[in-house]
Structure formats: C-alpha cells, structure tokens
C-alpha cells in the first residue's frame, strides 16, 4: 500500500509537484497519466526515494520513505524512465549484481530464472547489454525491478520506444504482475492506461486533475451527449429540421463525407434520447440516414479536456445521488470555459 500525503517538490520558484495526495491499495494497478512535464517522473522519484520531497509524506507499506529509506526501499521495485543499465555488463552479471545489491534472500539461481522467464529475456541472458535492442533493454530493466519480488512496482513509462508487438507483450506482463503486486504505472499513452489499469490519476501541472476508475471517469464526463448522423439531403433544410427536435442544443455540419452528404454533429440535452424522433423526421422528409452513432467520450477526450484547459478540475464521482447535480454544473462550467477558449 502506498499513501501519499500532500507531497510537494519545489525547484526554485517552480512547483514540479504540488500538494499531491492519493492512496494506492494492495493489488491495485494505478495509472499515472499526464502530458510530458506534468510531474509524473518527479512523483515516482520521490516515492522511490531517489529524490526527496520539499514537503509532504510518502508512506510505503506504512514506512516513511524519508524516515527509514532502507526498509521502505526493500518494498519497491523501480523501473525509471531510462532503464538503469550498466551497458558493459552481460544480462547475467547485471541481474546478479542487482540481486546482491538488493541483498536478496531468495534462492539465487531459481529466482533469477523465474524473473528471466517472466520477462522473456532467457535467450539474451549471456549477452552484453550494450548490444541488446531497445525492447530487450526495457525488459532487462523490468527484470531488475522484479528482483527480490518486491510487493510494490513503480514503472515509469515502461513501454516507451517499443514496437507495437513488444508494447502488447509488456502490457500483458504488467497485467499479470498486477495480480500479485501493487503497481503504479506512468504513461502519456491513454490506450495503455485504459488497457492495463484499474484506476487512473490524471496529473497536470503537478496537481491531480482527476482520480477515478477508468470506467467512472469515462462515464462521468460524457454526460454531454453527442450524436453524429450522416444524412443524405439538403444541408440547410436538415439543419433546420434537426434544430427543431426537442432536446437538441446545437447542431453543426462541417464535414462533407461524401459528395452532398454531411455528418451532422448534434449535441443534446442530458437525458434526452432524440434518435427515434430524428429518424422519424428525416424519413418524413424523404431524406436518408446513412449512419447514426452516439459518441461516448474516450479517455483521450477526457485527457485533452483536462490537460488543455488550464485549471479544469474534474470532480471525481461522489456518493452517487448528490453528485449528479453538482456534476451537471461542473460539466456546464467546463463547457463554458471551453467555449470561451
């Protein structure tokens, strides 16, 4: 379990991490999402004791990383952004060195073999790290973090620079590891977080912008419904017709997808489903609907929404009922802000 309380890191006048608080429970895979320079790596470096915090606390399984660094570090396996590899060593020598460095008590040969087969580096075990491909280097870095079987794994952008096949392999591996370990994973790739993590913290300008399960986050923010309809017919007429449907807030048709056929982006009021009414009215005028889809906001949209707007803070889902109204306000406000921009 990791508890972070008001963690702050200040570099001169700049606050790289600003008053961060969150908890990661045992067996959870937490995604740390944010644009470059948001403070992800800084936070991870503070959690692992590589740098100290200006103020605030980080407790690793109840041990303060600054009070008792040695005990706390025993619980952590850390893969930094750049894997800390000694290039002139063989994989074998390197992993043995890490084993000694961590004062690992597990049976050496069996443990190293386990780790190697887990991250699939057995076939390069006797090669010099310098000559390995990026994907293998990354995996050796991961192996290094796994040695000693620490209950907590902190992985800083573990899939960066890998090819798509390797990315999938590493993701599958992380998911597998998540069953036995508590994992914090940082990334600026959204699909990755969506694919691997139970919970996501979006961090921007050193602050938490959102903290929720990936599901809830998508649900919460997509309260503004949008429908995209591809309709064959006269553009002006159609726009007018759609606008008259009760529940429609706005409609735009900027995309000419096929000659004379536009995509109509319709924004509707919350809770109103206009699809049937839309169909009837279109058919009544003898136009043809060629396609109709609702757009649910992807994590990508949420991410952009949160990180593009300067101080947009999305409230996480509260105790269900009371939250609904607050959320509606929030969304309205967010929208307004975006409109202004």
């Amino acid at each position: 379990m990791i508890e972070v309380q008001n963690l702050t890191k200040q570099y001169g006048a700049k606050k790289a991490v600003d008053d961060l608080s969150f908890t990661v429970n045992d067996g959870e895979i937490l995604g740390f999402l944010g644009p470059n320079g948001a403070g992800k790596s800084t936070t991870m470096n503070m959690l692992t004791g590589y740098i100290s915090s200006t103020s605030g606390k980080a407790l690793i399984n109840g041990i303060d990383i600054l009070d008792d660094p040695i005990e706390a570090k025993k619980n952590i396996g850390y893969l930094p952004e750049i894997p800390p590899l000694y290039l002139d060593m063989t994989v074998k020598d390197y992993l043995n060195f890490i084993y000694d460095l961590k004062k690992c008590k597990l049976p050496r040969k069996a443990h190293l073999e386990d780790v190697c087969s887990l991250v699939m580096i057995k076939d390069v075990y006797n090669r010099i790290i310098r000559n390995l491909s990026k994907g293998y280097k990354q995996r050796v870095g991961l192996a290094q973090a796994l040695i000693g079987n620490p209950p907590i794994l902190i992985l800083d952008e573990p899939t960066v620079g890998l090819d798509p096949k390797q990315i999938i392999e590493i993701r599958t591996l992380i998911k597998k590891l998540g069953k036995k370990h508590t994992v914090i994973l940082s990334s600026h790739i959204l699909s990755e977080i969506q694919a691997v993590c139970d919970r996501v913290i979006i961090i921007n300008h050193g602050q938490i912008a959102a903290d929720d399960t990936t599901e809830n986050l998508t649900k919460n923010i997509s309260t503004d419904h949008r429908i995209i309809a591809r309709i064959d017919g006269s553009r002006e007429e159609i726009l007018k017709t759609i606008k008259n449907i009760p529940g429609v807030i706005s409609v735009v048709a900027d995309m000419e997808r096929e000659p004379g056929i536009y995509d109509y982006e319709i924004e509707t009021r919350e809770g109103s489903d206009i699809r049937r009414e839309l169909f009837k009215r279109i058919v009544a005028r003898n136009w043809v609907i060629l396609g109709l889809k609702t757009t649910e906001m992807t994590l990508e949209d949420i991410f952009l929404k949160i990180t593009m707007g300067d101080n947009v803070v999305i409230k996480t889902k509260k105790k269900d009922a009371e939250a609904t109204t607050a959320e509606a306000d929030e969304t309205a406000e967010t929208n307004k802000k975006e409109d202004e921009e």
């Binding site: 570099y11 470096n45 692992t48 004791g49 590589y50 740098i51 100290s52 660094p69 040695i70 005990e71 570090k73 025993k74 952590i76 850390y78 930094p80 750049i82 800390p84 590899l85 000694y86 290039l87 002139d88 060593m89 020598d93 060195f97 890490i98 000694d100 460095l101 961590k102 004062k103 290094q144």
Partner: protein, 235 residues
C-alpha cells in the same frame, strides 16, 4: 557495499582503464628503480618511493574520474540510490574498488624489494614497510579526492582535470606557505602539504601525525562524497 565493490572492480578490468593505469605505473616506477637502484647499485629505495608521487598525482584522477560521473550520465545512479543500501556503503564500495586497483599497481614494489634482497642481501625493512604504508595512504587520499570530484560532475574529463588540480594544490600548498605573511595561515598551509609529509617517510621517519593526517583526508573526502550525493537528492 560488496556488490558495488565487485561490480566496480570488474568494470575496471572489462575496460582498458585498469590495465593502462597499472602498466603506466609499472613502467614509470620501474624506470626509477632500474636507474637508481640497479644501475647505481644501491639498496636505498627512497627515490623510487618519492618519485611515485608525481605519477600518482596525475594517474589516479584517471582511475577515479568515471566512478560517479558515468552513473549519473547513464542514470544508473537511480538503481543504486533506490536500492536498499545507504549512501556510505555506495561510496565505500567505489572508493575501495579504486583503492584495490591501486594496490595491484603498488604490488610492483614487492617485486622491487625482493629483487634488492636478492642482489644486496637485505634492505632497510622498517623504512620500506613505512614507505609502503605511506604510499597506500597517499594513493587512497588521491582516490578519495577523485571520488569526491566525480560525484560533483557529469563529465569524466572535467572530473579528471578537477581532481588533478586539487591534487596539485595539495602538492604545492606548503611550498607557497613560505610567501604568506599571516602566521596562522602559513602554518595551516604548511601542514597541508602532501609531498612534504609523504617524502618524510622515505627518510625513514614514520611520522604518526602524518599517518593521521592522510587518514583524515581520506575520511573527510569520502564523507564529503556522501554529502554531495545526499545534497543532490534534496536539490
């Protein structure tokens, strides 16, 4: 500490650094040994010992320059500093590995002594042993300075040059002392001179304060290295 020590030692021998260092040290000291002891036919080794000062002052920075600079440049320090080890043992592991390489180089003196014993029948044992201790202390002092400097920069060349400058300062400081009018400063400067203290040993004088002096230098610079690493975390 053991893990770091062993890794460093291995790293010295996988790169040409250790071999070159040891070879140059052998050639340099052997030249003095051959010229002064063998050709002149004397068993007095003082010149072979005092002459080593200059080559150590120049060569040892090359041995220590990569100790922490490379860790920092390749970000492998993240691995050391997030492992459950304290800073002191990291520094000690590195310091001792370089000292160990220096011991390998120093071992050539045993060959010289044996040669002299074989040729001349005997040497002034007390002086020779005192000198060997002094040589080790001096080497370890230069190494602790080099280790310290390597922790302050990311560039090997800068580290080497800076440690050489500091070494040279300790070499020259007591010679400059004579020109200083302020007496307390003059005293301090005079007592900091590495060369004067070191060369005393070759006259057969085993000066305990000098032993303590070098031991303190070693301690202080290793301590400063730990502080530098600590400080960087808090930056």
């Amino acid at each position: 500490m053991g893990a770091i020590f062993r890794r460093e030692l291995k790293a010295y021998f996988t790169s040409p650094v250790a071999y070159i260092f040891i070879a140059v040290f052998y050639i340099y000291t052997a030249t003095y040994f051959v010229n002064y002891n063998l050709l002149y036919g004397t068993a007095d080794m003082s010149y072979v010992f005092t002459s080593a000062f200059v080559i150590m002052m120049i060569l040892l920075p090359l041995l220590t320059m990569r100790l922490f600079t490379e860790e920092r440049r390749l970000r492998t320090d993240q691995c050391l500093l997030t492992a459950p080890v304290n800073l002191f043992s990291i520094v000690m592991g590195k310091f001792l590995s370089a000292t160990c390489i220096f011991l390998c180089a120093m071992a050539i003196y045993v060959v010289y002594v044996i040669t002299l014993v074989a040729l001349a029948g005997s040497v002034a044992w007390a002086t020779v042993i005192g000198n060997l201790i002094a040589l080790l202390l001096l080497g370890a002092s230069f190494i602790s300075i080099g280790t310290f400097v390597s922790a302050t920069t990311e560039n090997q060349v800068v580290a080497a040059i800076l440690s050489f400058i500091i070494n040279m300062a300790f070499y020259l400081i007591d010679m400059l002392a004579g020109n200083v009018q302020i007496s307390w400063l003059r005293n301090i400067m005079a007592s900091l001179g590495f060369y004067t203290r070191y060369s005393e040993f070759s006259t057969g004088l085993f000066n305990i304060p000098s032993v303590i002096f070098f031991a303190s230098v070693i301690f202080i610079f290793n301590f400063l290295t730990v502080r530098v690493l600590e400080k960087r975390r808090w930056a």
